[in-house]
């Protein structure tokens, strides 16, 4: 029994380290990143000629076109939050998993992903700091959580591919055009 004690203490210490020690926040988690301005530009557009409520309605329409469900909204602050659950299978992962499976090493592959978007509008300001009439900035931020076939989380990340934002804003311009035309 005595011989067991150091081993036991070691295992307990290891367990406590695993449970408690790894949860220190990355030092830059709430710091403005050097590329934050660049990211803001990628995620923001200025939209003129439409009031904020109708801009939000047009944007909600685009989110619906893309299959998102609206989770939350606060039009008084220009906020819409939406999400969708989709498959996360990729052909390359499936092929790799089949190959590994044939070699006798079954492996988990990405299965589902939850994609969340927050879409925020605010009045665009003129040089003197006053709001420009019917002119707004709209910014979207997107993130996703990917789970594998074993229901474990494999990715938690922000989506930062410029193409995705470009396409979203192209669709938004069309939707705003329709919104403006409908009056």
């Amino acid at each position: 029994m005595r011989r067991c004690q150091p081993a036991c203490a070691g295992i307990v210490a290891l367990g406590l380290t695993v449970l408690g020690g790894c949860a220190t926040i990355p030092q830059d988690a709430l710091q403005l990143a050097p590329d934050s301005l660049e990211r803001r530009q990628m995620q923001t557009r200025r939209i003129d000629g439409i009031d904020e409520k109708r801009l939000l309605a047009a944007a909600a329409g685009v989110l619906q076109d893309l299959g998102f469900n609206i989770d939350e909204s606060e039009t008084k602050l220009g906020v819409i939050v939406a999400s969708k659950d989709r498959s996360a299978f990729t052909a390359s992962q499936v092929v790799a998993a089949i190959a590994l499976g044939m070699l006798g090493a079954p492996t988990s592959i990405d299965k589902t992903q939850k994609i969340r978007v927050s879409l925020v509008t605010r009045p665009a300001l003129a040089a003197d700091g006053t709001p420009r009439p019917d002119s707004h900035l709209i910014r979207i931020t997107i993130q996703r959580v990917v789970r594998n076939t074993g229901d474990q989380i494999t990715r938690i990340e922000s989506i930062e591919e410029p193409k995705i934002y470009q396409e979203f804003f192209e669709r938004l311009s069309k939707s705003i055009f329709l919104e403006v035309q409908s009056i």
Partner: protein, 140 residues
């Protein structure tokens, strides 16, 4: 057999150490006193414009790569989540302080732990005061 015994010992040791407090204690658990937490979680700004302040808070959170979860102008709250290989959740509240100021308070969690280190909050208020064009004032 000896290995099995070792394992059993280890498990029971861990159970003794970890098991005496029910995990429901986490509901009312805090690492620091409320006074200490508030000293770095809240700042006062010389403005009374709730809407503009909340909109600036939201814009700042987006600058910090957060996705908004909820926002409520009447209650003066915004909650948001950042995913970047890890998860940070933050709630920011804005309420009047006296006749000429607003009090902004933030509390955040990293994965399954409250953030009780002043540094991340200082970073947040540094970003917020830049966007507000106002100084974030320490409150006692």
């Amino acid at each position: 057999m000896i290995r099995l015994k070792h394992a059993a010992m280890a498990i029971s040791c861990a159970a003794v150490l970890a098991g005496c407090a029910p995990s429901t204690e986490a509901v009312l658990e805090t690492g620091k006193s409320a006074v200490a937490l508030r000293s770095f979680q809240q700042r006062a700004f010389d403005t009374t414009d709730m809407e503009k302040t909340l909109r600036t808070v939201i814009a700042t959170l987006q600058d910090l790569s957060f996705v908004v979860d909820k926002a409520d102008l009447d209650l003066g709250t915004v909650s948001a989540t950042k995913l970047s290989g890890y998860q940070v959740r933050i709630t920011v509240t804005v309420r009047p302080r006296g006749a000429a100021q607003l009090l902004v308070r933030a509390n955040a969690q990293y994965m399954d732990k409250a953030i009780e280190d002043p540094k991340p909050y200082q970073d947040f208020f540094a970003a917020l005061e830049k966007a507000m064009f106002l100084t974030a004032q320490q409150v006692d």
